[in-house]
């Protein structure tokens, strides 16, 4: 049996075969156990011969009552099983908002505006330049029209205009793709963390599309960049209770009212990274949607670290000394994200990992606790269980950190890095841009599993595992349709401005 220190030695071919053998043995344990039993039974039957078998059956004294009761029992147990099984949640389709070219913000424009807006704080401008150079963003990310003014004009009207633009465009596109009629929407969930007007954004959608009066609508605000998966979780629970229903989820972040106008460096960081974006997703529990749905929801795990002060305060909205409101990002953010991820993995690991990996992880855990704490912790190989990864494009550091923690290759994090480059950090909708990238590249095959991981203020780590229902054919329509041929691009460590 191979020692738990496997990852160090896996480069050697001999060990590779040993590892393969071990995985095959453990993962197919039950099948392998069944084979000798079947073989023995078959041999016995052949040995006994047909008359002896018939004699054995007759001696059991079956009569009509026994047979009827047994059949009813079998039918009853099957019915209970099928009724109590949770409904499968289908992701029929989704659409992502593609910003108009008039909202484009090249690096040079961002820096020039920054200089003019922060004319008295050259050090803050210098800081922003350094952040932008290393951010991993490209020249095509977009900010809403109000932010293009010098100084920005973040009125409530402008915020509503941005909300209408991004949400209605995404929803129109979703209706077109799925043939969904607005009157058929049963559940509507909108998540937008930092803009929460009255009436709510979900009310705005109901008003625009004239949705039904008995619609179940929800508006989640303040829940950060991981709110999209929270919405999916709520939709899933609602769809368990309401049969034959569908749910539309709208995930977005409205930039206009939240552009920091002060000069504190820790609070200028979001200005450099957050960009316009939105996604509209159609979920359903109807059997009839089984054929056309793109994905099934397999697992969804939510982890909240808010009980710890350190985690609670690491992404904190506050006023600076000049009463400008902004989001303060703590220096420990990466470490806290790493811990939140560990918590989440501990729960989702057993649900997705094959038995072989779980056994190794368990052995390593026991070994570290009992024998020697210095043993290197075994990082389960998630690549065995999942084909695609969508890591929230929170920033270059987040993606780097996760790539290291989960031991992923550059190809696995390509969707996240390229989304960060093309669209910036679009907050809760970034997972959907990344999924769209994978589809646009033609990599999504039937049966593939996707793991979406999102982090957000609180501090939360939410993840979802979807299974692809069909092979997605390219070329696809979507936000990547006009630029997918240029990707992947090489993103240098530092871009010289």
């Amino acid at each position: 049996m191979s020692p738990p220190k496997m990852p160090d030695l896996s480069t050697s071919t001999k060990h590779k075969y040993v590892k393969l053998g071990y995985q095959y043995l453990v993962n197919n344990f039950l099948t392998l156990l069944l084979i000798p039993i079947l073989a023995y039974t078959a041999l016995e039957l052949f040995r006994m011969g047909p008359e002896e078998i018939l004699n054995h059956l007759n001696s059991l004294n079956f009569n009509l009552l026994h047979i009827l009761c047994s059949s009813f029992l079998i039918i009853f147990v099957s019915t209970v099983y099928f009724m109590s099984k949770p409904r499968t949640i289908y992701l029929v389709d989704y659409s992502c908002f593609k910003p108009p070219v008039t909202c484009r913000v090249p690096f040079a424009t961002f820096m020039e505006h920054s200089r003019l807006n922060l004319i008295d704080s050259p050090k803050s401008v210098e800081f922003q330049m350094r952040i932008l150079e290393r951010s991993g963003l490209g020249e095509e990310t977009c900010l809403p029209p109000a932010i293009h003014y010098i100084p920005p004009t973040p009125t409530m009207d402008a915020a509503r205009s941005e909300a209408e633009l991004v949400i209605f465009t995404a929803m129109d596109d979703l209706f077109k793709k799925t043939g969904l009629k607005p009157k058929d929407i049963d559940i509507l969930i909108v998540n937008c963390s930092l803009f929460s007007p009255t009436p709510s954004l979900s009310a705005m959608i109901i008003n625009k599309y004239k949705l039904r009066s008995n619609i179940k609508s929800l508006n989640l605000s303040g829940m950060g960049c991981s709110a999209s998966l929270i919405s999916v979780d709520v939709a899933r629970d609602l769809l368990q209770v309401h049969p034959n229903s569908n749910a539309v989820i709208v995930s977005t972040e409205i930039i206009t009212p939240n552009y920091y106008q002060g000069k504190e460096r820790a609070m200028l960081l979001p200005n450099c990274l957050f960009r316009m974006g939105a996604a509209a997703i159609l979920l359903s529990n109807r059997r009839s949607d089984r054929w056309r749905a793109k994905y099934n929801l397999c697992h969804l795990v939510r982890t909240h670290r808010g009980a710890e002060d350190k985690s609670y305060y690491c992404v904190y909205e506050q006023e600076d000394d000049e009463s400008h409101v902004g989001i303060n990002l703590n220096k420990d953010l990466m470490a806290i994200a790493g811990e939140a991820l560990k918590s989440n993995i501990t729960t989702i690991g057993p649900l997705v990992l094959p038995a072989s990996e779980q056994l190794l992880f368990l052995t390593s855990l026991i070994g570290r606790k009992i024998f020697n704490a210095k043993w290197k912790p075994y990082i389960p190989d998630f690549k065995m269980a999942l084909e695609h990864f969508c890591i929230h494009a929170g920033g270059r550091a987040v993606i780097d950190e996760l790539q290291k923690s989960l031991q992923l290759s550059a190809e696995h994090v390509e969707a996240s890095r390229m989304t960060l480059h093309r669209f910036g950090n679009t907050s809760s909708s970034s997972l959907w841009y990344e999924l769209s990238y994978i589809e646009a590249k033609g990599k999504m095959k039937r049966g593939d599993r996707v793991w979406q991981i999102a982090f957000g203020s609180g501090f939360k780590c939410n993840s979802a595992v979807w299974k692809s229902n069909r092979t997605i054919k390219t070329p696809t329509e979507g936000p990547w349709s006009d630029c997918i041929d240029r990707y992947p691009v090489f993103i240098p460590e530092v871009v010289k401005l």
Partner: protein, 407 residues
């Protein structure tokens, strides 16, 4: 931020600034190299205003205007770049898609009230102008001002750095904008560096007189002038203004003038560049005494000095600073420029104004087409102390009847 226009004191106010650029990103590392002729013009700026009536532009929103600029600038994104200097000091344009500045403002008058003033220099307040510098890397090359009149009319004013191109180029650029606004597909061909050189078969090899070297201005590209310049304009034909100016100046008479007009053998299709013909006229007689026919004949024999200017502009690897407009009394012929082809909803602008910023001490006269065919608009820019005498001379010839200000 220092501004040349007064805020809030006139009927034009507001000034909301934003930026427009190109729709698609330019490849990193792209640069645009100005020619010697471009560099020779760097201290000058072209200011141009197009005024449209309310019926034409009442429904035209700011967003619509900006979107159309994105479409046009996409084809010619180098003009949205920023200047840098090479180690040798030679300026070049880094094509970083930084964009052109757009200024939105309001005017308390209607278009008709605005166009009442016969002195069209009021149009200067419809152009937002800032010189390039003191930081080259953060100075836009183009400023676009959109002024909404009380009646719903719109004025679009350009401040265009002459290093990019000549008035023809600016007019062509804006004409393309109007075509894009109407929904046409537009196309701007790319210029290769070879096409932008000037070969003059009649080159005399002499030093060009239409250009004057000035003291280094560093990175603030403002043409130094020792006299305060003022501008007047009125509706008459030009040509005898030289005589009037000569009469009013007395000794020494301006016996050499510069004529700037479009190149009759210009490249088609049009691109954005400095291709204006800069020629010089020198006479041996006294202009004040001479007959008009002799003066006009001398003007016809003007010698093209472009290739010499190009050479001088290149000297010292483009690090020197020059003045062309106003180095000698300059006459700019823009009568062939298609300003009124800039049609919105198939309607030409009510009025077009065009002048140059940064004129040297000898003064400048610009002849523009007017909205009415066969009519001309003439703008005269001279030192303040000369302008009254010249006005008197022009009145004596019967060319101007009366002016609203000053009489």
């Amino acid at each position: 931020m220092p501004r040349l226009q007064e805020e809030g004191s006139g009927p034009v106010h507001g000034f909301w600034m934003s930026t427009v650029g190109s729709a698609r990103p330019t490849e990193t590392g792209t640069v645009h190299q100005p020619t010697g002729l471009d560099l020779a013009m760097k201290l000058h700026y072209i200011k141009s205003v197009y005024i449209y009536s309310a019926e034409t532009t009442r429904d035209l929103t700011v967003m619509h205007v900006k979107e159309t600029f994105f479409t046009v600038l996409d084809q010619i994104s180098w003009i949205t770049g920023r200047l840098r200097r090479r180690d040798s000091g030679r300026p070049f344009i880094k094509c970083n898609d930084c964009g052109t500045r757009v200024v939105e403002s309001q005017c308390d008058l209607t278009v008709d009230e605005w166009l009442c003033a016969p002195d069209r220099s009021v149009d200067e307040s419809l152009v937002y102008h800032q010189p390039i510098g003191p930081e080259l890397a953060y100075s836009p090359l183009i400023y676009i001002q959109m002024t909404r009149f009380k009646c719903g009319g719109l004025a679009i004013g350009f401040s265009w750095a002459h290093i990019i191109g000549d008035p023809h180029s600016l007019s062509h650029f804006f004409n393309l904008w109007t075509r894009a606004l109407a929904g046409e597909q537009i196309y701007f061909p790319k210029t290769s560096d070879l096409e932008r050189c000037f070969q003059n078969p009649n080159s005399t090899g002499k030093e060009p007189v239409s250009i004057k070297r000035v003291d280094p201005v560093g990175d603030l590209w403002v043409a130094p002038s020792n006299s305060k310049m003022t501008t007047y304009s009125f509706n008459i034909l030009s040509g005898i203004i030289w005589k009037c100016i000569a009469k009013s100046r007395g000794e020494p008479e301006p016996v050499t003038i510069t004529i700037i007009r479009s190149d009759p053998n210009g490249l088609k299709p049009r691109v954005v560049r400095n291709s204006q013909m800069i020629s010089s006229v020198h006479v041996d007689f006294s202009v004040a005494e001479a007959k008009l026919e002799e003066i006009v004949k001398a003007i016809g024999k003007a010698t093209d000095e472009r290739s010499e200017i190009n050479k001088i502009g290149e000297s010292d690897d483009g690090a020197l600073d020059f003045v062309v407009y106003g180095a000698k009394l300059t006459f700019v012929d823009m009568s062939e420029v298609g300003f009124y082809d800039a049609k919105v909803k198939d309607t030409s602008p009510r009025s077009v104004y065009c002048n140059v910023q940064g004129i040297g001490d000898d003064g400048e006269v610009v002849v523009l087409p007017a909205a009415v065919e066969e009519e001309m608009v003439v703008t005269v820019t001279l030192p303040e102390d000369e302008i009254e005498k010249v006005k008197w001379e022009l009145k004596k010839c019967g060319l101007i009847k009366a002016l609203i200000n000053g009489e």
